[in-house]
Subunit: 336 residues, 2 copies
């Protein structure tokens, strides 16, 4: 084990897209775990749209990342030293290790990864990504057999799982994505019924109406903006709109407009509801069990876009915002 490690700090709060000055790469000591703590070596970082929100100095469901602190990031790692009997060296763990090679954390903040689980799966369908899709769709969206489920960011890590879960629930599933290649993947590989390329369609409203001839019963929103507004106009009576994110506006320098068509909720007795996956922590086990079974049965697939090298994390993060990632975006920190 080396004496020093590389860490990436939040140097400056970005206006708009994170840029060259947003982060600083520094060398620092490897911490010693305190009493009850565990020192983990980072193996794989998860890059998620929500991280953009953590960079803003604004109250949210978690506090902002402090300026000068290591950039917060979900990750999987391997225990290298433990001051807690719950973890032994070699154990693989998931937690908020951050953009650094080594992190010392209280054992309660780490989740063990069972043997035999591929690490990318532990950050994807079996990690927060999967939990978000599972509870957001099934508990907030509550799709019923035969209903139409529309999902935006459909080729993204969460969206692609939402669509597959909705197919397992025997729904008609329509995905909104930003390229024809993504649309083909959704239909040909994941079993979506239809896909709409929002970047090339001339009239998104007409295209979605055509793809959802029976209207929309659940609109699972990852993007916000104009897409949300148009989707609201397609809601059926009693529809549910889980709000998972709003990536279209995360880098806006002015507050994006709200959904002008929100009164569709009134006319259609529909509901728009936010959720935070952390609230379902006591039920993660149930979701992991179900999703593991569906993966084994071939009903759930995931693809991963893995970038090499911690130092490339800042640039890789931008792929989420231009849509150039293909599947769940991660950074491999160490070769294992």
């Amino acid at each position: 084990m080396a004496d020093t490690q590389t860490r990436i700090l939040l140097a400056e709060r970005p206006q708009g897209l994170p840029g060259e000055d947003t982060f600083s790469v520094v060398s620092g000591p490897i911490p010693l775990p305190g009493p009850g703590e565990v020192l983990a070596r980072t193996l794989l970082l998860s890059l998620d749209p929500a991280m953009r929100g953590w960079m803003d100095d604004r109250p949210s469901y978690v506090p902002p990342v402090e300026l000068g602190a290591v950039m917060r990031s979900l990750a999987v790692g391997e225990v290298v030293r433990s001051e807690n009997p719950a973890f032994a060296p070699g154990q693989r763990v998931a937690g908020l290790l951050g953009w650094q090679e080594y992190a010392a954390l209280p054992a309660e903040e780490l989740t063990p990864i069972p043997d035999g689980v591929d690490l990318p799966l532990a950050l994807g369908p079996l990690g927060m990504t999967g939990m978000t899709a599972y509870f957001g769709l099934l508990e907030v969206g509550r799709p019923r057999t035969g209903e139409t489920v529309l999902v935006s960011g459909a080729a993204g890590a969460v969206g692609s799982l939402v669509g597959q879960l909705a197919k397992i629930r025997d729904c008609r599933v329509v995905g909104i994505a930003g390229s024809d290649e993504k649309g083909r993947w959704l239909i040909d590989e994941l079993g979506f019924d239809a896909a709409v390329n929002y970047k090339t369609t001339e009239n998104l409203h007409a295209a979605l109406r055509a793809a959802c001839p029976d209207g929309v019963d659940v609109y699972f929103d990852n993007v916000g903006g104009e897409t949300l507004d148009i989707a609201l106009r397609l809601l059926n009576r009693g529809a549910r709109v889980p709000i998972c994110g709003a990536i279209s506006g995360y880098n806006a320098t002015e507050p994006p407009p709200g959904p002008a068509s929100y009164l569709s909720l009134l006319v259609n007795r529909a509901r728009m509801e936010g959720f935070i996956v952390l609230d379902y922590a006591d039920r993660y086990g149930e979701a992991v069990e179900a999703i593991s079974r569906w993966i084994a049965e071939g009903k759930i697939q995931a693809r991963f876009d893995i970038v090499q090298g911690l130092e490339n994390a800042p640039a890789a993060l931008l792929k989420l915002f231009d849509g150039s990632n293909r599947g769940k975006l991660m950074v491999r920190v160490t070769e294992r």
Copy 2:
């Protein structure tokens, strides 16, 4: 009984506020009730913000009023002739009699008004107004003891009932209204805990935050617009936002902006939900019973703003939109 009657037709779809050319007053025959129908003489018309939406040629929860048709309106009347054994002459009824002196309607579309009920009550707390407040607050808003309930349009017919129902549920109740007189009425007469005059306060967000020191658990929205946007920023975790209406935008000639702060729903795991009172028709009896009891106990009060004369209905309707009505707005069509 005269041979002819006065009727007010929708002559033109208004752009913005209804004006001189929106309606035409005509003289026409008094219809004969067909088989199964009832002829009712209109006594009192209800004027409601939703009527503005009915004038637009836009799909909604009810079809638009046709051009050249009698303006749709809830009303109470008295049966003068009946071709249905369920109703006898002299029986008082509520239904969509419209802006006319006499209406022939199928008996199923009429609700009998029990003897002893004052007619204004039958259009107010014991009518659709009361049903809207009761089911919107209690079924969609679901306030719990000690929570803070914020209501806009608080001195309006629905809003003033919502606040009183929330007090019965032992909530802290804050009303938003458009004059200090209204605010005093809410606090001194109806028992609201606080009131904010949105027309004179310099900073509505700061004023509401001060009036709701523990945040907002239920925001019952009658107005939409900037008030909704500001209220969303005050939501507590798990808050509910019943959407009853959006009067601030009903006469807009451009689509009003949506609530830019809707992501507060995500951060706070909150829910914004529309409802239509008609969906609760099979439970009106329960609500009428409860509200009647609360009226008898002095826990619910209503005030009425009754304009004389059918021909004054078009001008009276505008009082809803400039806020000059004081209580539930009605038009007395015949002296009784």
